[in-house]
């Protein structure tokens, strides 16, 4: 009787384990080095990750999603990687532009930012943004002019939200790519955005991509969360503080 425990089936067991795990398991070796195929796959995945960081979100996407484009104080990709502080701030001119071109004092300000993966924006925003907008509309929330920020860091939402006097702010931002996926997106949310708001006041949904939380489901989930934030006038730990206990 053939059984899974016979020596012939060790390959099948290893395959089963490898199939359930994104790590590079059971890839073998050539002497002390990886096999050519493994090395090429690794380099290819690394290349995809580098591309996600180095590439730009296309103007077509920004336009087709109806986003108002702005840029942080960062000048180029090298500057972006070297100066996180500049990725959190906008110029006075940009602030002035926001005040003339965008809806003022919205309940919800939606921001899309390239962050560390333009690929994440290209892949996820077309499915996420429409259902999010539907969801916010259905809940009767007043939504501002959606904005695209080039060279943005998470906390640029504090600056933009403060300038526009938004009640709450959402930023959809490309995550630092890994070797398993380069298209993971995160959604950070804050109630009452002000420059310098600590991270503890922010709520996040991460791992949004086809292999994680599907972007369309994430859109509906974010709409729900924002409605809750507006109702409770809180975000981050303030939203959940009452059912958590911390060791003193």
């Amino acid at each position: 009787m053939a059984t899974n425990n016979s020596p012939d089936d060790h390959d099948a067991v290893l395959q089963r384990i490898a199939d359930r795990n994104p790590s590079r398991l059971g890839v073998g070796r050539a002497g002390s080095r990886p096999k050519t195929r493994t090395l090429l796959e690794f380099r290819s995945d690394h290349g995809v990750a580098r591309d996600a960081v180095q590439s730009h979100v296309s103007d077509e996407l920004v336009e087709s999603m109806g986003l108002f484009p702005i840029q942080t104080l960062v000048e180029d990709k090298d500057d972006y990687l070297a100066r996180p502080d500049k990725g959190r701030e906008i110029s006075d001119e940009t602030a002035a532009l926001l005040r003339t071109e965008c809806k003022q004092a919205p309940q919800v300000q939606v921001i899309v930012a390239d962050g560390l993966s333009s690929t994440a924006i290209e892949r996820n925003i077309p499915d996420l943004l429409p259902i999010l907008t539907d969801g916010l509309d259905q809940r009767g929330l007043d939504v501002g002019t959606p904005i695209f920020v080039r060279y943005g860091r998470v906390d640029v939402m504090d600056a933009i939200g403060e300038e526009l006097d938004a009640e709450c702010c959402l930023i959809l931002i490309g995550e630092r790519p890994g070797l398993a996926t380069a298209e993971s997106l995160s959604a950070y949310m804050v109630y009452g955005p002000k420059r310098g708001t600590p991270t503890a006041k922010k709520t996040v949904i991460s791992n949004i991509h086809a292999g994680g939380l599907p972007p369309v489901e994430a859109g509906a989930e974010i709409a729900d969360l924002i409605a809750e934030m507006c109702a409770k006038q809180a975000s981050g730990l303030d939203l959940t503080a009452d059912d958590r206990e911390f060791a003193k």
Partner: protein, 488 residues
């Protein structure tokens, strides 16, 4: 619809009851189920991470008024007494299941019995029945399913009770199939040295083997031994086939699989099954009729038949109470974490499931056809006003894009709008993680109808679904996928 904003590691504990009313015996167990996230980044499914049995009730003889009727009041009293001994009031019980098994499921009052017990035993205790479900629960309760995963092997859990033998085969990915037979220790009863009961399957076997048994005969251990040898060979035949012996096919419950399944080991559970590992020396020889039935003889015959067939028999910790522990700890699942729920509609009980199959290959414009077929199938099979709702299960909606989900929602809205079921709760179940998005899109199209969308669950036509009230801040709902098969 409020969701918790950030991932919490705050775990929740559910108190779960399992009640098994079988052909011969009735048991109660009380367990604690720990609900937890699998990881930590916020979107993982909540799962039942730990199951601890807190109370194992004594084994009661199932009280009968006559062979066709269970004494409902006496059963209810046994259960109430056991719960009192356990120190658990029905109000404190969050979930669980009542299962009627074996021949009891064929008694005239099995159906009202199981529903009544379920209603009286706790907040979200569900009614279940069916040999295949029992087989699976027994394998989960015994630890056979976990052994298959841990050791990456294929295991058959053979639950041999008073009226039926229910086999579930597990491998590392879960349930492979079930194989159930009308073979059990209480098909023949003896008292004062005479046969007092010869159930139909036993009569059939007696005839086929020329044993000529009939009620009232004096007990002839050799004849009864021959009968149990015949029973055991059918059980082994059902494990090894196809091909199957003609009698195996005649005594099978439901259909038998059409492909053989190589097995690494088998586990015997149930009142008779637990005797298999001990049978060679003890009871079968010294006191073959200690239980006034064929149990010890059948167990001895099974041990011999399994050995002759070269099947490797393994013993696990839970043999006697496998089914009831399975019912108490494995029936409740949790839906995906992002769901679309109208909590006012919950709990919903005993909703029939209609599965549409995969829609992945269906073009956007053609989606109404399979959905409307599913719904008319539901209205043909069930009076939906009577059953109080319907579950429409969609295995695969296709690409999880905004446009595709909109097309699916349009089709659902059109089909539901055309039906005269506006007041009937409809539960849409998907396997993909898209319940919140689909729920939002559907709500925009038919806001007035009672609607629930839950995801990351696999259910098939013919199954029934119970959905409990939301737990963990409304993030998830307890769900029981089950069968309700009464009669033969």
């Amino acid at each position: 619809m409020g969701a918790n904003s950030t991932p919490t590691n705050a775990s929740t504990t559910l108190t779960s009851v399992g009640i098994d009313v079988g052909t011969t015996t009735t048991h109660v167990v009380v367990s604690e189920l720990a609900v937890d996230t699998a990881g930590g980044t916020g979107t993982e499914k909540l799962t039942i991470s730990d199951r601890t049995v807190r109370f194992r009730g004594p084994v009661h003889e199932t009280p009968l008024i006559d062979p066709e009727t269970v004494d409902t009041d006496a059963v209810a009293e046994l259960i109430a007494t056991d719960l009192a001994t356990a120190g658990v009031s029905p109000d404190a019980i969050d979930t669980g299941a009542v299962i009627v098994t074996g021949e009891t499921a064929r008694t005239v009052n099995a159906e009202p019995l199981v529903h009544t017990l379920a209603d009286e035993s706790g907040n979200f205790v569900v009614a279940t029945a069916g040999a295949a479900l029992e087989a699976i629960l027994a394998g989960q309760g015994s630890g056979a399913a976990a052994h298959a995963v841990d050791s990456q092997v294929t295991v058959a859990n053979v639950d041999v009770g008073g009226g039926t033998t229910n086999t579930a085969i597990f491998d590392a990915d879960g349930v492979v199939e079930t194989r159930c037979l009308d073979v059990g220790g209480r098909l023949v009863a003896v008292a004062d040295g005479r046969l007092t009961k010869l159930a139909e399957p036993a009569r059939l076997l007696s005839e086929a083997h020329g044993l000529g048994l009939s009620v009232g005969d004096p007990v002839d251990p050799e004849q009864l031994s021959a009968l149990t040898t015949a029973m055991a060979s059918l059980v082994v035949d059902s494990l090894l086939g196809p091909p199957y012996h003609q009698l195996t096919v005649e005594l099978s419950i439901g259909s038998l699989p059409t492909e053989p399944q190589p097995l690494d080991c088998i586990v015997f559970t149930g009142g008779v099954g637990r005797l298999v590992g001990e049978s060679r020396d003890a009871t079968a020889q010294t006191e073959p009729f200690a239980y006034n039935d064929l149990g010890p003889l059948l167990a001895a015959a099974l041990a011999e038949a399994a050995a002759d067939a070269g099947l490797s028999v393994r013993r696990l910790a839970e043999e006697l109470r496998a089914t009831v522990i399975g019912a108490g700890t494995y029936t409740t699942q949790l839906s995906g974490r992002t769901v679309f729920i109208d909590a006012d509609l919950l709990p919903l009980r005993n909703l029939p499931v209609i599965a549409t199959g995969s829609l992945a290959e269906v073009d956007d414009g053609q989606l109404t056809a399979p959905l409307s077929r599913g719904l008319s199938q539901a209205t043909r099979r069930y009076d939906l006003h009577d059953v109080g709702g319907v579950v429409i299960a969609v295995d695969d909606v296709g690409d999880l894009s905004y446009d595709r989900l909109r097309a699916v929602a349009d089709a659902f809205a059109a089909v539901l709008g055309d039906s005269n079921l506006n007041e009937i709760p409809v539960v849409v179940v998907t396997q993909q993680n898209c319940a919140k998005a689909l729920g939002q899109l559907l709500h925009a199209r038919c806001a007035d109808r009672p609607l629930i969308v839950i995801d990351e669950l696999a259910v098939e036509t013919g199954a029934y679904l119970d959905i409990g009230e939301p737990i963990t801040h409304g993030e998830t709902v307890p769900v029981v996928v089950k069968t309700l098969v009464f009669g033969s």
